[in-house]
Symmetry: C2
Subunit: 192 residues, 2 copies
Amino acid sequence: MTNKNDYIDRRILKSKKALKDAIISLMQQKDFKEVTISDIVRLADLNRGTFYKHYQYKEDLLDDIIDEVITDLIASYREPYQNIATFDVSKLSSNAIKIFEHVHKYAEFYKLIVNSNVLTSFQHKICIVIKDLVMQDVTGKLTNPNINKELIASYHSYAIFGMMIELIHSGFKYSSSYMAEQLLAIIHSHNN
Amino acid sequence: MTNKNDYIDRRILKSKKALKDAIISLMQQKDFKEVTISDIVRLADLNRGTFYKHYQYKEDLLDDIIDEVITDLIASYREPYQNIATFDVSKLSSNAIKIFEHVHKYAEFYKLIVNSNVLTSFQHKICIVIKDLVMQDVTGKLTNPNINKELIASYHSYAIFGMMIELIHSGFKYSSSYMAEQLLAIIHSHNN
DNA sequence: AATTGATTGTCCATTAATGAACAACTAGAT
DNA sequence: ATCTAGTTGTTCATTAATGGACAATCAATT
């Protein structure tokens, strides 16, 4: 299905990464609309033509970042389930939970969206994505038929999002494994 | 004197930096002779041909790093004197002292040489370079003619080197400005 | 002794990034 | 109102890095 040559050249990945890092760094210093493309390529240490080869506006670059983060968020949430049949977070070991590693990985971006007022829309997007993921868990295993799936999905997804926010506000002083342990401890204290 | 086109293409600088970072990182994990070129380019995320375009052996890469560090060390030591006539460390303000920023800048490299037994020769090289720099200070200003210049140069250079070692052993928990303040405080407590 | 898997050094055609130039536009300072 | 310095979008020839191939070498396994 996918093309035989559907890998992406490393140079492209490196250039895009440099541009992404640069715009995130600049947005921590000043407002998005004040960040110029010349600023971005200057910090990214790239020729301006390289920017235009990949993007047209700053907005495209930002969209690309958001896409990447969401893709990685979904992958990180799903990764532990790859080789097992169950679909129950509480059954996972704490070191199998990868979502907080994802938050660490994109620490600069998350710091940005939590503080910034530009990307409040993305915060909702995050919540929706997590909720969808949790929904698939819930639909997979039918525990108590009296429980509203939407409600429990919302409950868990916002709980996870809340922990993410706490992690970010703390300045990332908690390790991913600690966060995962805490998540499990909290869940088990409810369910046992 | 220098060629009109004597700048270096950014791509070369980036590739070399990636190779340098990679070999330093690998040498923190295993012995130098066990680090393969494939290891280096794998971590540096570069094609193997790129390594061979710039270097022939691993040793060349290591030599290049050492050259760069020493060049930066000298520049960092001299920078404060650029626009002033005096040549007396004790006359500088603490925030003018740049040498500890240099150590921070090459933190990974310094951690490596302090621990590793491969690069003990480089430790001597560092001392000699610093001593030469201090010597120029001492020759510039003739304070007490009874004082042996070689001796005072050795004294100060090893003192600075000692502080660098202490900074590295501490895991870089002291800021550059703090280090500089301490250096000045120590000097002044002797001279006043 | 034969085999497997990895590294090494070298090659090449293709592609991405580069520096430099350009005219057009903008914002601030004089 | 003019001047200055900067950004923008685009173009182009040149250069660096790429992926992929190759035979040769080496170490550990069988």
